[in-house]
Amino acid sequence: MVTMNLVQAVNSGLKCAMADDKRVVVLGEDVGADGGVFRASDGLLRQFGKGRVMDTPLAESGIVGVSIGMAVAGLRPVPEIQFSGFLSMAFAQLVNHAARIRMRSRGAFTCPLVIRTPYGGGIRALEHHSESMEAVFSHVPGIKVVIPSSPYDAKGLLMSAIKDDNPVVFMEPSRLYRAVKEDVPENSYTVPIGKAKVVKEGSAVTVISWGSMLQQAKLALSHTDVDCELIDLRTLKPLDTDTIIVSVKKTGRCVIVQEAPRTGGFASEIIAVINDKALLSLKAPVSRVAGFDTGFPLYKLEDHYLPSIERIVAAIEATVNY
């Protein structure tokens, strides 16, 4: 075990996956000599060479497009999109091709690629560096969406994603890259995709979050006396509905915390699932704490936009006192 922050854990996951499996290649903007702008691929070029670690031209559609070609032809590409705000440049490749190739060829062609991309606000970044588009990707059939919130999970989930036979969008909360540290095994291990985690057990209300907001929700819990059960989704697609439903049936109340805009966010999907499977257990309407339905503002206003501890606590208390 070594103490690692989240970005070091990602780095360690990439190193282990590349050492374990020759088919794994890493490509993207600045991933080689620079080691990635967040240093997620630091040292990979030295260890594995140019054939497996490629600095590419500046072209996201190109990066994802060639990754699809590599994947169908037998490699396990792990492209990095420098910021998730620029993954939209590759949207057509992802949605029209990566997501559909298995179905349209009845499995003759598959696309085992993992798109790693930092996401989310709170780092005083330039425009388009702070978006949370997980709901958009979760909407696309054929793609898995994984979002870790801790170093241990980041490495284990990344290693699972690389072994997975489907295209995975792996979203890394950039504001947590260096914010949390914990013990992480240096060797290979996996954390299963599609399994949520009960971070803390409680009886009064279920609080559900993922990625960057998980830590914020955790902080909020220490600002209230309400006995909350905290769930980290870890995978948005496929969603672990069992863990959600068991918890909501127990507490009868639920607050969902997402950084993304409110309308059509992933919280809406969770509410629909609860509606389907646990409606009669509810003692209060399910509450959402979310970003606003506006563009993500430049940094002087980002603290207003990001769901604050006060907003989360207010939602928890309103839900229990309903």
Partner: protein, 358 residues
């Protein structure tokens, strides 16, 4: 069977002042002594602005900032050729071009200080907001240029791009549209030889960016990007052509990014210091100054006066920037749609209630 060469091409290179500031008289653009001094003064102003912005960032008074150090000639030479009504479509690197095209320095500080209001140009100035997504705004520049043609207006547009941006699909679509529609646009490519850490040799297998224009059916030239007179000449010619219906031009300014990519970058990880030192010797500001001194248009006394003047302008801008009241969160709601939808009103009300209850 026939085998023959259908097309062959060459790429023109333009330099007016050589590295020792010796001019080529035949290529000298028609600029009066007063204009030459004005051009130089703008370069010095912009450089001092850039230095100040880097200091402010280090002190936590400005957010992430992209220095244009070493690229003043490319940006200001182009801006100086523009008419006031011409449109620019800049990147984060183009603060000097913006300042030289009537954008107040305080606006740029505001933008990099995390406040959208820094993108509002003065009335009658057509600077599109800085594009952070690389290579995307070239299409907007082409569309705006097409709009000029359709509406019978005389303005031309400038699309800014880096060597890295030339790889984006959008950028290549912009080249193609511009060629097909003969749009009155100039593509100002500042080839500063790096896209963050990636050297231009890994960006493209083509020897020049200029030659890419040829494939799209219009003219591309490479100029010495550290020679402001060459840039000005090329831009003036391209604008004249654009205004008379001759279509687009790609101007590749071959230059060098002296600073880190942005204040979040550490360039020593991927390029040798010796390379930076070599390019510092080609400093575009010094190049023009030496020429002016040789022409007896400039001396130490004038330099001292100029520096005092521009430093005051820069520090006034900083004072003004720091005295602007913080932006209001209401603005973000107000400007998302032409009319605020009910759902947004509710979100704003909820938020206000929470803030007031605190």
């Amino acid at each position: 069977m026939v085998e023959k060469v259908l097309k062959s091409f060459g790429v023109k290179y333009l330099q007016v002042l050589d590295e020792n500031s010796k001019p080529d008289a035949r290529l000298m653009p028609k600029l009066s002594p007063k204009q030459l001094v004005e051009l130089y003064s703008t370069m010095v102003l912009c450089r001092r602005f850039d230095e100040k912005a880097l200091i402010l960032q280090r002190q936590g008074r400005l957010g992430t900032y992209a220095s244009f150090l070493g690229q003043e000639a490319a940006q200001i030479g182009t801006a100086y050729a523009l008419a006031r009504e011409d449109w620019t479509f800049p990147t984060y690197r183009d603060s000097a071009l913006l300042i030289a095209h009537s954008m107040p320095m305080v606006s740029l500080l505001q933008y990099f200080g995390g406040d959208e209001r820094g993108s509002i140009p003065p009335k009658g100035v057509n600077n599109f907001p800085i594009s952070i997504p690389v290579g995307t705004q070239g299409l907007h520049a082409v569309g705006a240029a097409m709009a000029a043609t359709i509406q019978g207006k005389k303005f031309a547009t400038v699309a800014c791009l880096g060597d890295g941006a030339s790889s984006e699909g959008d950028m290549n679509e912009a080249f193609n549209f511009a060629g097909v529609f003969k749009a009155p646009v100039i593509f100002l490519c500042q080839n500063n030889q790096y896209a963050i850490s990636v050297p231009v040799k890994q960006q493209t297998a083509a020897e020049t960016i200029a030659q890419k224009a040829i494939a799209f059916g219009f003219e591309g030239v490479r100029v010495d990007g550290n020679d402001v007179l060459a840039v000005y000449s090329a831009a003036s010619a391209a604008l004249k052509k654009a205004r008379s219906g001759g279509g687009p031009t790609l101007i590749e300014c071959f230059t060098y990014r002296i600073s880190n990519h942005t204040t979040s970058d550490d360039a020593s990880r991927y390029r040798p210091d010796s390379e930076v030192k070599e390019w510092q010797k080609k400093d575009p500001v010094i190049r023009l100054r030496k020429f002016l001194v040789a022409k007896k248009l400039w001396n130490d006394k004038k330099e001292a006066q100029l520096l005092a003047g521009v430093d005051k302008q820069v520090s006034d801008a900083v004072t003004k920037y720091e005295s602007i009241p913080a932006p209001q969160v209401e603005d973000v709601f107000k400007y998302t749609y032409s009319e605020m939808p009910q759902s947004l009103k509710e979100q704003l009300d909820d938020y206000r209630r929470l803030m007031e209850g605190k």
